[in-house]
């Protein structure tokens, strides 16, 4: 490892040279929060993006790559173009741009107890939404409060409960329309998953976005950040 303690281009500790890096949940949450903010999300939504990737990370699912792919594609997109338009039974984007999974996720959580998010009849159609994997932690939050859910799409389906996800093929979806309906209680997966390593290249690109939340320091702020006297005493 080549330490470069003064490397100005990093948002956390420098990444080890290994291609796969073991990250703590706190680290991945913090990095993704900053990256989402750096890509233009509000602070509140950026925190939710960090929560979502951290939730997946704790279950050994790679949410960082999916979030990065979404952020790189939509960086700077206007909220109105990626937030859901709520209509009975169908939440959809306002135009051609697919929904942001964080915007859709937080809105689902916010409306979870309100009639707009009712799952009666044929369920609630959502989308098209970008990187549906990032939506899963928010669905788990809804499930925690309202009971298990089934989410289905063209060619697949999965059960979501408060603590677990069964069926992992949602990870590969890029842009999809989903149908959400009340589900059945599934038995959670056995045991605790192994900590997941993250791709160095993905972390580096998230870091590039995260750096957009920082400011080159002024001489004054740099000078008066320390003690007014010497430390060598």
């Amino acid at each position: 490892m080549t330490p470069e303690p003064n490397d100005p281009t990093r948002a956390g500790s420098p990444l080890p040279s290994e291609e796969r890096v073991l990250m703590s949940q706190t680290e991945i949450e913090t990095l993704c929060t900053k990256a989402a903010r750096g890509a233009g999300m509000s602070w509140g939504n950026a925190e939710e993006a960090g929560f979502a990737v951290g939730w997946l990370h704790a279950r050994s699912i790679d949410g960082a790559s999916a979030l990065l792919a979404h952020l790189e594609r939509t960086e700077g997109a206007a909220w109105r173009d990626v937030c859901p338009v709520i209509e009975t039974g169908h939440w959809h984007p306002s135009g051609a741009e697919p929904l942001c999974p964080v915007a859709l996720g937080v809105t689902l959580c916010d409306f979870r107890a309100l009639p707009e998010a009712a799952l009666t009849g044929g369920g609630l159609t959502l989308g098209p939404v970008s990187r549906p994997l990032i939506l899963v932690p928010f669905l788990a939050e809804v499930a925690r409060l309202s009971g298990p859910l089934t989410v289905s799409w063209d060619g697949g389906a999965m059960e979501v409960t408060a603590d677990s996800v069964l069926g992992n093929d949602i990870a590969g979806l890029v842009v999809t329309t989903l149908v959400l309906s009340a589900g059945v209680a599934a038995s959670p997966a056995e045991g605790k998953p192994e900590p997941r390593k993250c791709d160095r290249a993905v972390l580096a690109r998230l870091n590039d976005l995260a750096m957009k939340t920082t400011i080159p320091p002024s001489e004054k702020s740099c000078a008066d950040a320390g003690a007014a006297s010497s430390d060598n005493d």
Partner: protein, 555 residues
Amino acid sequence: MVNANPKRETNGRRAPSVVMRLARMGSAHPTRLSFLRVMLRRMLAGDWRFDRPVWNIDDKGVGRAVYRAVGPDRTYSLVAFAHDLPDDMRSDRVIATAWDATFALFDGTPTTADLDRLQANVPLQEAGRISPRELSLSRANRSVRLWAHVIENLAAGRQPDPAEIGAVGYLMRTTAVYGSGKFGAADRREIAARPELAAPFQAEMLSVWLTRQFTVDIVEHLARVRGGAGAARLAPETKGLLGVGNSTGLGMAPFLVRHPILMNNWMAAREEALARVRTLDTATPDAVRGLNAAFTKACDNAACWHSQHPIQIAKLADLRADLDRIGERLTAFPGGEAQPWDALWRWGEDNLSLEGQETLFALLIEPHGPLVDDLAAGMSADETFRLDGAMRVGALRAILRDRYDWALAIDFADPAQQARFWYVSEDKLEPRLGERATDAMAEREQPLCTGRLAKELDDALQSWPEDETVAAFLLRHPEHRFMVRRAQIAASHPYAEVRDNLIAEDMLPIDLMRCKLAFFGASHFDPRSDKWVRICLFQGAPYPLDLKEGVAHDT
């Protein structure tokens, strides 16, 4: 219900409008609920033992050592690396790249392979990488003056001059002590269920306590190298005067703002402790003796508390004058009042400065361990909080009026009220304060300007019908999500918010730092600027390797 006394909550605790002010938080003193006291109570109860299985330090003071705390169920080991640091590289700031000593707290007993792995990373600190087997990462620098004085005297077979020791108070000063998932370390949520780590910052406090042992061991080692068989060891009374220093800057200040639920729980525990003591209708002879003993200690502490900073010099003058008043008042304690502790407290509110009141606070709860120590268990927090979108706009505005009245009253059009902004520096990723009028890129401000965010939220809500949902509001205004969540937290956590403008021209970051450091158990708060402080930890506490196995010690 109308609360007849705006200074007290209906549960007898002091009101947040009294407690959550920067000036008072910046006058906080350590108490028996401080985290290092909580840690020591457990470690000194008799069922933990301590040893030093590795001591590979050469004649230059370079090498590695391991200190173990062996408990009933688990063992923790401080792994220490000692370095030979040129004087010109010695800096306490985050910009430093090398230190006199570096440390990690290991979960268990490390193997040689673990030590080798740590040796390749821990000395690099932020530039290294640790693993889920580690619970903290830290470093320390020597107090150059005292270090040389102590070694020189011990080598010559003499004890160091107590006046020299008193003037500094420690052999080494830690700077950052990183925990909770930083740099690859174990996540807090992975270890929070262990009883010995359940209270806040217990791993960090254990690490610093074991570090204190290392600091005396290494000066005795170096004195022996220099003085041979004639070298003295530190006398117990001299050792007792030594704590561990700590130097900290703005990096610590945002913590309390970023963790509103945690801050609420810390503050609520303190306030509940005071409320319990105030309701007692007797002062037993034991408790009075305990109070007087604590008062004597507080006077000793104030006598050897030095600072050159004008703000702290004035505060120390207040404290010393107040201690005189308290001493006089205690000669008539307890009097004939129905609730003697409450009477003493109310006397303090009427007669003492904030410094004096906060020291009286610590004195009042000190003799009441059995009554208040259980509160430490409630000082950690599950910080997950899901925003309630079904709340109506009217209810949210009521929260703002109730919990953020102080913020709604601020005129943010006045440049002095938002003269500064918090940001993260690109070069070292540390929190800094910018000047809004002159510094560029204020749009990258961190959301620590809670008062202004509350005011902006209230302004945005004004045009919304009272019975509309918060969910609908946030679908239109995602920029307010951060503050809506905070406000909802504050509704159920009365001490969650500092009730002062954190971007005002006259805001003092050291007030936030002192509050947090007092919760750690720090004494001798010594500002070196309005953004930088030195403190001392564990002065007067026992040393782990001096404890007799299986024997409980007083704390």
